[in-house]
């Protein structure tokens, strides 16, 4: 059986003229295939939406609260696992030092104190040598060298002040 143009009319969702309606009705009487399409069209266009059971929004709020709690718990566990991992890695990296500390803490403390005393003594010796040099050196340096040093220092100061003024007036990168 030729279904054209009837199935096109049925699928197009366009309003039909009275003449087309009449022709379609006549065709549907003899064509079970197009009749089924017409019935499906009718069932679809008269379909109603099914609402959820009462209290949907309340159930959503409960689910949201449970999801937030689960998220907080998961975040807490995540933080704990991260913290334990970081501490474990640090402990693994510091194990050579920790091993010594744990084996003989008194020896380690004594060696640290000894190092501190040595450092203090070295600094004092450097201080003494510097003081002697400052006392003796001016006598060996000629006046012309002193003048050159002072001039160079003055020039550098002027250059620095000039740069500072220039940069303040014309800021860079703006």
């Amino acid at each position: 059986m030729n279904h054209r143009p009837f199935d096109d009319w049925l699928l197009a969702d366009q309003p039909l003229t009275p003449q087309q309606k009449q022709e379609l009705q006549a065709h549907l009487q003899n064509c079970p295939q197009c009749a089924a399409l017409a019935e499906v069209n009718l069932a679809l266009t008269s379909a109603r939406a099914v609402p959820p059971q009462a209290g949907f929004a309340d159930r959503f709020q409960m689910r949201l609260a449970a999801r937030k709690r689960a998220m907080r718990t998961r975040n807490l566990w995540g933080f704990l696992i991260l913290a334990v991992s970081v501490v474990s890695i640090l402990a693994w990296l510091a194990w050579p030092v920790l091993k010594v500390v744990l084996r003989s803490p008194v020896d380690l403390l004594a060696s640290w104190l000894s190092s501190l005393v040595s450092l203090w003594a070295s600094l004092q010796a450097v201080g003494h040598v510097s003081a002697v040099l400052l006392r003796v050196a001016p006598g060996f340096i000629p006046a012309s060298v002193w003048a050159a040093i002072l001039l160079a220092a003055g020039g550098a100061s002027l250059l620095w002040a000039f740069s500072l003024v220039k940069l303040t007036k014309n800021p860079q990168g703006v």
Partner: protein, 198 residues
């Protein structure tokens, strides 16, 4: 519904009460889409709730230039399509009736017999829908239950408009052929298009 844009802005700023108003406003279209897609009340309830949770989590990314219902239905449709693909949906029994969730006949209607017939047809349609491809099913549900235009369906399902048209035609032909096969099994009965309302 006129308050929806204001609720969206408030919900985007963390107002849970405004989001609850959005849930109440859109629960039926979202639930209905999930119910028609998944075929079962419990699965539909779960999918609709999950849809709103996804919307809640992604509301900050929602572009207010877009239609909110279309965005919402898009999330629901994709959630259901994913669910159907995951569980390799097998067609549910045509005789299965969802307690308390099917459209009950309106006893106050002038002709209870006609109303019962109409209800049976809707149940039949609901069962036949389950035989469609998930994307075709989503297109049919959005077109006929949610009154979405072909352009909106195309945007929602990431298809072109001609593809939506073609899917809708194919789906209706498939439904008609199943409808016809089932009618042949159940014997002759009065055809609804013969009524003056057609």
């Amino acid at each position: 519904m006129t308050d929806v844009p204001a609720w969206i802005i408030q919900a985007q700023h963390g107002d849970d009460e405004a989001f609850t108003n959005l849930v109440e406003a859109f629960q039926t279209p979202v639930y209905n889409l999930c119910y028609r897609m998944l075929g079962e009340a419990a699965a539909a309830e779960d999918a609709a709730q999950e849809t709103f949770l996804k919307v809640y989590q992604n509301l900050g990314r929602y572009d207010r230039e877009r239609s909110f219902p279309t965005w919402l239905l898009s999330i629901a449709a994709h959630h259901c399509i994913d669910k159907l693909r995951r569980r390799r949906f097998t067609s549910i029994s045509i005789d299965k009736d969802e307690e308390g969730q099917t459209e009950l006949p309106d006893r106050s209607a002038p002709d209870p017999e006609t109303e019962t017939e109409r209800k049976q047809e809707k149940d039949r349609l609901h069962c036949l829908l389950q035989s469609l491809d998930p994307t075709d099913r989503a297109a049919v549900v959005m077109r006929y239950w949610n009154d979405c235009s072909e352009e909106e369906i195309a945007r929602t399902l990431h298809l072109t408009v001609p593809a939506v048209k073609s899917r809708l035609h194919r789906a209706r032909r498939a439904l008609a052929s199943l409808w016809q096969a089932e009618a042949a099994r159940n014997g002759p009965r009065r055809r609804p298009y013969e009524s003056p309302a057609f």
